[in-house]
Symmetry: C2
Subunit: 474 residues, 2 copies
């Protein structure tokens, strides 16, 4: 693969910018968490860049892009590589642009902050909490290691979505700066409508060099775990709890028995094997109200609340957000490597019935894991069910059954934007790509509509980040 590009010439042009071309290290850094999917594991295991370049400033990013453009070398940006869709994997080799050292928090104000793309989310929160008791609105379960730029380019929501919706929603990103891939790269300042071009685009249409994001108040969050005798009861409770507008919640998940007992090893002592869990993060001042509310539900058992544990009980327990979202999958995978997962939307208003019907259909093959969120102004849930993987054909069949039953799938077993189903490509998106990356050198192979002009992007599928042209109303 190296023969394709003049890496030596590139190195000569990099000046003082740090780089790494030891093949073992390059291969290691060319991988993200694609191995959550047995399908992506088969397809992407061989992928590697030719060189890692590690700029630490906007000026250095522009230098790297200028050099790579001049030499026709592809550039795939990466934060810390915690994504699951192969989004940071360089399909055509070339430069892996590791932005983890370009990571300063530049400004903090009431309700917002400005940071460089490589800033780790938990480190941003350290600074914003210290500054003014504020914190990120949204973060993935990989909060401790993931970068904010990677989250915007490849994530969609997570912890906080029960309050704020997702990255696709107006107001959850304030402004972005992106560098273009041209002979003389420009910095574009994007806000409002234009943000939708770059969010969840895997870095295919610009390299994020600065983010301005909203902040939420930072409270002392308490983990509360409630147990229920049936999945239906847990789902109903979580749904109604999510609809309590006055309760300050940060995350709200359901995990069906026996997955919690079997996979949440450090919490196991609290978890009867037959308990279906509702796992809540609530502000300290909301816990009384939450528990009073739970008392109204027959059969709701309080299994754990983190604020009343003795220190020896609390020791070594991961925070509730590391039991949720893709950490649920991760914990299951660690115990049973045959587990994989799906990404499902159970659309309002039929989510409770749909969850029950779908899981009744699959039994033990698909274990229920729900994350409740605000979605278009209503409470509903996404599913990240744990699937006992047998064959790729069966996996496809399981997804087809979900869709046939009314639950759209965002396929985490595909590495292209369109097949992943979160990002709808359209003419506006392609026009922007033509401006920002006319040679198609940014993360090649991830946007089908760019690679294949005959691709029909105007499908009737449900996309999480909707088409730019379709989003218009009125």
């Amino acid at each position: 693969m190296t023969a394709r590009y003049d890496i030596a010439a590139l190195k000569a042009r990099l000046g003082g910018i740090r780089s790494e071309d030891n093949p073992a290290l390059v291969k290691q850094k060319s991988r993200d968490f694609f191995w959550y999917s047995p399908v992506l594991k088969r397809k992407l295991d061989h992928v590697t860049a030719d060189i890692i370049v590690l700029p630490t400033s906007e000026a250095e990013v522009l230098e790297v892009l200028t050099a790579a453009h001049a030499l026709g070398i592809p550039v795939t940006p990466r934060g810390t590589g915690t994504g699951n869709y192969g989004q940071a994997m360089p399909l055509s080799g070339g430069v892996l642009l590791d932005l983890s050292g370009f990571n300063k928090v530049k400004a903090i104000a009431p309700g917002r902050y400005v940071a460089e793309p490589g800033a780790i989310m938990a480190r941003i929160d350290d600074e914003t909490r210290r500054h003014s008791r504020q914190e990120l609105r949204l973060h993935p379960s990989t909060y401790q290691t993931a970068s904010i730029g990677g989250f915007i380019a490849g994530g969609s929501g997570g912890v906080g979505s029960i309050k704020w919706g997702g990255l696709r929603d107006w107001g959850n990103i304030i402004a972005l700066k992106v560098a273009t891939m041209e002979a003389s790269p420009r910095i574009l300042e994007l806000s409002g409508e234009d943000l939708h071009k770059v969010a969840h685009a895997y870095g295919t249409n610009g390299i994020i060099t600065e983010v301005e994001m909203p902040l939420a108040p930072a409270y002392d969050w308490v983990d509360v775990i409630l147990g229920f005798g049936s999945l239906r009861a847990a789902t109903e409770f979580a749904n109604e709890l999510g609809e309590q507008d006055g309760l300050a919640l940060k995350n709200l998940a359901v995990v069906a028995a026996p997955a919690p007992h079997d996979y949440f090893l450090r919490h196991r002592k609290f978890l009867p094997r037959d308990s279906h869990l509702v796992i809540v993060m609530a502000a300290d001042f909301a816990v009384d109200s939450l528990l009073a509310y739970a008392k109204r539900f027959r059969g709701a058992a309080l299994l754990m609340r983190s604020d009343t544990l003795f220190p020896e009980e609390a020791k070594g327990l991961p925070p509730a957000y590391e039991l949720g979202w893709n950490h649920t999958t991760l914990r299951a995978l660690r115990v049973d490597p045959a587990i994989t997962y799906l990404q499902v939307l159970y659309p309002f208003p039929n989510q409770v019935e749909l969850v029950e019907a779908i899981h009744a259909r699959f039994g033990d093959e698909v274990l229920c894991h729900l994350e409740f969120v605000r979605f278009d102004g209503k409470i509903t849930c996404f599913g990240l069910p744990l699937v006992r993987f047998t064959t790729e054909e069966r996996l496809e069949e399981i997804m087809a059954i979900h869709e046939a039953m009314g639950a759209p799938i965002f396929n985490p077993h595909r590495y292209t934007l369109e097949e992943g189903g979160m990002k709808q490509t359209d003419e506006a998106q392609l026009a922007f790509k033509r401006q920002a990356d006319p040679q198609g050198l940014l993360n090649p192979g991830k946007m089908i509509a760019w690679e294949d002009p005959a691709y029909d992007y105007a499908s009737g599928k449900t996309f999480l980040f909707r088409s730019l042209s379709e989003a218009g109303v009125g």
Copy 2:
């Protein structure tokens, strides 16, 4: 009326507690904003207490209650008398307990504060903003003059309800202390389930002596006024804007033409007479996104944004929250004394169609004013329509038509809890009243079920604060 009670004996027992029995001053302080309703004006205009007593501490409240209980004198509590339902008017005379001097903020912490009941809401915010850039989640449009205790005892929601729902919702009150009306009054500490007993009970079952309430982050709020060519377009836009989970909004109202131009005199220069308004309070960092979102709606015209006004343009403009809720009614009343109002719920999911159908039915007799809120986890709207009053019979008819068309009324032309329709009385509520006020001396005449044991409180009506026994689920 004075002959009924031994006011001289009461005064003798008051010690150093300030009181006032000049009849003109007593009559003036015995009034709230009941005159918004022509019906209440007719029924309550004569009402007066015998004496005003002004305790400034819990100890003084207990002294007054002990003395009044010993002498069998009724006690009606009052904050600053900004309620609209006659809730603070002493139907049986006796003591008007003016709590406006019992008003200290006692503690502020992340997400919550503790205050005495007479604290004015805007003054609480002065302290919480200075302390840690926090502010009240919810307040009425009378924020500058109304007390927090009065709001809890007689209000329901208001500015902030688009984000947090109402006072009826779990988590919007953390804890209350109330003094009972007994020979030796006790202080009850209420939290969780028990809060529902005292919220919106007009002080009929205890005198609030301390409140613990949640706080929201205090941002720089920008007033944005958008104009639309039809009520339908304004309502649709507001509804969809309310469903944007990522936008930090504090209030979201619709006022139909020509009311804004005719009644919002200081804003008139911005308001074409045929514009139907959407009036938004948005955090400064959300305005860009809000305006980008509005651009997608054909026909949305930006009429004013407060953050870009020249100082001479901004001078004298009231804040947007003083164009909303009952201040809309107040501004209309000042121009046209024949105006009164209703309180309507347009239930999700048919709110947009229902607003259109009801206003088409009434034409100019009922001018549309909507306040969008979160309600049971969904976005919908309350109406406080401006009604051209003719007769009480016609007013009843207008309300009956609303209910027949599917829009429940919370009748602001009644002074009892049950007829007002916000608070449902039930056996649990009555049992609590028997404990807290066995002689029925607190704000007598406001709870029908107490006065008339034959009253059937188990009606099928929609109540905002639901029955304590009915609220159980699961």
